[in-house]
């Protein structure tokens, strides 16, 4: 057992008893950490209000060697995203970020760049209107790239032949050439507008402030939703709440 310090984002939490909570923390230094916070439900504790969902906090925890839950001993609020409390699409998008970080990553597999991008994303949510979906899409592509799941966008995901728009296969892992498309059961049409947006965001995630039609935004949401579902092995819980 060793005492560790980290900066963490609370991505899941559930009550364990009348006074304790079990939390999933996504830390910059260690990746995903699951810990028991004894007394975490009490107002006057070593955790104050730091264990609320999507709160950034500085934590101290005892790492268990046995593989069970770690023990959280201290948590202090570093940042709260008030923008998620005043804009419903931003609230849902924030919860989706938490779901992806919690369920698409492994324990003790740190990704500091992804942690920083998650915080930037959460800060930028709120008041974006129709751009909320694109900001989220940009985060998803960064996350997929960081985890080694980047969709193939410039060559056929099956035969690697150069190809652009046409169709997209979530199971195959990206765009498909006309020949391979026939063999992929979940291949769906990919419009040139949607393809160029995906390429632009994959090349430079900061390019999310783009004017797009509702049709293309909806199309992008559907493709990424299916792609993430395939990588996750199930449909994300937040998917029905997201808008394009």
């Amino acid at each position: 057992m060793s005492l560790e310090q980290a900066t963490a984002l609370v991505v899941r939490g559930s009550d364990w008893s009348e006074s304790s909570r079990i939390v999933t923390l996504w830390t910059r230094e260690f990746g995903r950490v699951r810990a028991l916070a004894k007394g975490g439900r009490r107002l006057k504790s070593n955790f104050e209000v730091a264990l609320d969902l999507l709160t950034v906090c500085n934590i101290v925890f005892i790492r268990k060697s046995s593989g069970g839950l770690d023990l959280l001993t201290e948590a202090q609020v570093e940042e709260r995203f008030t923008n998620l409390r005043t804009d419903l699409p931003a609230f849902y998008a924030g919860c989706y970020v938490a779901e992806l970080l919690s369920d698409l990553t492994e324990d003790y597999d740190p990704h500091p760049a992804l942690f920083d991008e998650a915080l930037t994303t959460l800060r930028e949510f709120g008041g974006l209107g129709k751009l909320t979906g694109l900001r989220l899409l940009s985060f998803e592509l960064t996350l997929l790239g960081e985890l080694g799941y980047s969709p193939a966008l410039r060559g056929c995901a099956v035969c690697q032949k150069p190809v652009e728009a046409g169709s997209f296969g979530a199971t195959a892992g990206g765009v498909l050439c006309p020949t391979c498309r026939l063999k992929e059961r979940d291949a769906r049409p990919l419009s040139p507008g949607a393809w160029s947006t995906l390429v632009a965001l994959q090349d430079d995630p900061t390019q999310w402030r783009r004017e797009l039609s509702d049709r293309i935004r909806t199309e992008l949401r559907q493709h990424l939703g299916l792609y993430v579902s395939t990588r996750l092995g199930r449909r994300p819980r937040l998917l029905p709440y997201l808008t394009g």
Partner: protein, 200 residues
């Protein structure tokens, strides 16, 4: 998968461990108390449990727990029918009633918006609240969901739902607890108290 306990005693102990705050040892102690002590206590408890299961249901107006069609608060003519306080659970309602300062009506949502736990807006009784508001007698809706991200998200959802009605929507104040000192307050309490300061 764990096999089902064989005898009645084991089944009772197993059932007790499903209650909040009761572990296997406490369950065993309670089971033996009920078996070896006064049998009337056990019978009384069994009857009370049966009554609760069979007779208690949500109030048709506010979804508070009641034995009648309408709860005692909704049927109390002395309560202010122009104000409705929206809470997550009947337990929250009971806590507000304990404060004995609020004289309006309530609406119990039946939980909080927690999509990560598969608890979406369709599981809330928010549509019933909208119908109550549309009847025109309510002037103010006080959103008293918990001051957590999910509680605030729930308040936001309800507020958006009621946006096209004429009702005034307010949110419970947050900040310093009365009788406490600044020294004992945490940073968030102080921030909330400063944000919510008012003329003195």
């Amino acid at each position: 998968m764990a096999s089902e306990p064989a005898g009645a005693v084991e089944r009772l102990a197993a059932a007790l461990t499903r209650l909040p705050g009761i572990g296997p040892k406490s369950a065993e102690r309670i089971t033996h108390f009920l078996l070896t002590g006064d049998r009337d206590v056990a019978a009384m408890l069994a009857a009370a449990l049966k009554d609760v299961i069979e007779k208690v249901h949500p109030c048709r107006e506010c979804f508070n727990l009641t034995e009648g069609a309408v709860c005692r608060i909704c049927s109390d003519a002395r309560r202010d029918g122009s104000t409705v306080c929206v809470v997550e659970t009947p337990r929250d309602l009971a806590m507000l009633e304990r404060a004995a300062t609020y004289r309006g009506l309530y609406h119990v949502l039946g939980g909080r918006l927690a999509p990560l736990d598969n608890f979406g807006p369709e599981k809330l009784t928010a549509d019933a609240l909208l119908r109550r508001v549309q009847r025109g007698e309510i002037r103010e809706v006080i959103l008293a969901t918990n001051p957590t991200l999910e509680g605030d998200g729930t308040a936001l959802y309800v507020s958006n739902l009621l946006a096209n009605t004429q009702v005034r929507i307010t949110r419970l104040a947050r900040g310093l607890p009365s009788g406490s000192t600044l020294e004992l307050a945490n940073a968030q309490m102080l921030t909330d108290a400063l944000d919510g300061r008012r003329a003195f």
